[in-house]
Symmetry: none
Subunit: 93 residues, 2 copies
């Protein structure tokens, strides 16, 4: 899923790590892996799972928050919105 190796970055110039994380998390939300009302795994957990920096995770989370897919409560976590709007077809910042 994550290809942060220099090579893949070269081949897919627009496939930034944070967008890949964002897309994967979006898939999990829309696919039901993360259900409405439930908490999204913590930043630390996602850092360990994806093997990327915390800032990268935070950037992906922020994007999903702006999409309305999740809501972040400080010191508690990010929660899947009850009626998640379908994600945009990859605006790509």
């Amino acid at each position: 899923m994550i290809d942060y190796g220099r090579f893949m970055i070269e081949f897919r110039a627009n496939a930034y790590v944070w967008t890949q994380v964002r897309d994967e998390l979006r898939q999990r939300i829309l696919g039901g892996t993360y259900r409405p009302g439930q908490v999204v795994p913590s930043e630390t957990t996602l850092v360990q799972e994806f093997g990327v920096a915390r800032n990268t995770i935070r950037k992906a989370i922020a994007a999903l928050r702006e999409e309305g897919l999740i809501m972040t409560v400080p010191h508690l976590g990010s929660f899947v919105s009850e009626r998640p709007a379908p994600g945009p077809s990859d605006p790509e910042g």
Copy 2:
């Protein structure tokens, strides 16, 4: 460079705050300031003493724990391991 056997102390290697805290605490353990079985000062105490963030203290503690120098018991504290106790003078006990 000083070789303590299984513990390699590296001076000048890094200037990071957390490594400096780690090195200082390691010195206190190996030097007998913190003796085996005794509890290491709490994170809050170390925060006040070193004047750094708690996360930084925790990072140093975690490093020493991975080295086997200390063992952490949740809600109680971190305790100096029995094994690595080459106290130079063994004062009063």
